[in-house]
């Protein structure tokens, strides 16, 4: 729920990094914090356990600067990935404007990814929100590891697409982030839409800003 504050001339948008435990959500934020110019970032807050596992959330505000007279800011949050912290996860989704799902590419984490994706759908529904109707991208993290699953398998599992009912939208839409691929396409007579996805190695920073750039643009389009 982006807020346009005409009194203080500010726009704030909330982006949430979601995904299974130890998938790299906090690492994404840490890399962004390290690389964004000091003038553009606020204080990073981590409510974590003693072993640095996220307990409630990590939070990082990033200023985009003043656009058309409005100070525009993104609030980046992560949720705790561990299954038993669901109450915290649900709370962080309140008022979300865009979601990044950080999947762990390792073969042995395929079930954890699926479970977390289902949990995202369920928790959004509890807020009366439909993930298919808000800005949403997927990041396949840890692509550099030897036990990483093939991209195709991850896409089939986590980004199979949903049916496009509106006839006006039943036409091929190129994926702006993957030349030669489409986001909306006809499969066995049914039009399906997938979300943009990115390969990443968050520890090295690969793909981190590609993901952030894509979700930020999608969110701003919803208010512009």
């Amino acid at each position: 729920m982006s807020l346009i504050n005409y009194a203080s001339r500010e726009i704030n948008c909330k982006l949430v990094y979601y995904g299974p435990g130890l998938g790299g959500k906090t690492t994404n934020l840490e890399y962004i914090y390290e690389k964004v110019a000091p003038a553009s970032k606020g204080k990073m807050i981590s409510l974590a356990t003693e072993t640095e596992r996220t307990l409630f959330f990590d939070f990082l505000p990033v200023d985009l600067g003043t656009i058309r007279g409005f100070k525009t800011r993104f609030h980046l949050y992560t949720v705790p990935g561990q299954v038993y912290y669901n109450a915290s996860r649900r709370l962080i989704l309140k008022g979300v404007d865009g979601v990044v799902f950080v999947a762990d590419s390792q073969m042995e984490r395929l079930d954890a990814n699926l479970e977390s994706m289902q949990n995202l759908y369920d928790n959004m529904a509890q807020h009366g929100l439909d993930i298919r109707r808000i800005p949403f991208v997927i990041q396949y993290n840890k692509r550099d590891l030897p036990n990483a699953a093939p991209l195709r398998q991850l896409q089939e599992d986590l980004n199979p697409g949903w049916a496009v009912e509106d006839p006006a939208r039943q036409r091929p839409v190129p994926d702006p982030n993957r030349p030669g691929e489409t986001l909306v396409q006809e499969v066995d007579g049914t039009w399906v839409e997938r979300v943009s996805s990115f390969e990443a190695c968050a520890l090295r920073g690969d793909g981190v800003f590609d993901t952030l750039r894509a979700i930020s643009k999608l969110v701003l389009k919803t208010i512009g």
């Binding site: 807020l3 346009i4 964004v36 959330f57 656009i67 525009t72 709370l91 930020s216 208010i223």
Partner: protein, 163 residues
């Protein structure tokens, strides 16, 4: 189910809220009053300029209230309508406004918790009416930014996050 909704905060809203909060500070002899949206965004600050980072403060306030809401439900309560955090010098009193906003009053030993609570009660009623009106207004009309906002914002995103 729907996608994310938005709402806006107008100049005249800020003026009316500012007047209410200023009178609260005077009557309660408190230092600063802040309004924080339940999603963690700062809406207004009145009184002494806070010495802390307001963005971080708003986020933690919203998280604090949300966590306590869950605790309330475990007790079979709908919510805790108000919270109190006591410090050696400075204390915070937080109260729910229309289930969407949190009023935070920062005060020190020049006043008492009892007086703050008493004055907040009246202001919460007035603020609730005002916010209910604001949310109804948003539900009624679609709100967009002026043309040209998105391309300019996209340029900034490319500049800041690399293209």
């Amino acid at each position: 189910m729907s996608g994310a909704s938005s709402w806006s905060f107008r100049e005249e809203d800020a003026t009316r809220i500012g007047a209410l909060l200023n009178s609260l500070l005077r009557e309660a002899n408190a230092r600063t009053a802040l309004l924080v949206d339940r999603t963690g965004q700062m809406l207004a600050t009145v009184g002494e300029e806070p010495r802390f980072d307001p963005v971080a403060f708003a986020t933690l306030t919203a998280a604090d209230f949300s966590a306590n809401d869950q605790l309330a439900r475990m007790l079979g309560e709908n919510e805790f309508g108000a919270l109190f955090h006591q410090g050696d010098r400075d204390s915070l009193y937080l109260a729910d406004v229309a289930r969407r906003v949190i009023l935070v009053v920062l005060f020190d030993n020049r006043t008492t918790l009892g007086l703050v609570k008493l004055r907040v009660r009246g202001v919460v009623e007035a603020l609730s009416a005002l916010f209910t009106e604001m949310f109804a207004r948003e539900a009624a009309g679609e709100r967009r930014m002026e043309t040209g906002f998105v391309p300019e914002a996209e340029d900034e995103i490319d500049r800041l996050f690399g293209s």
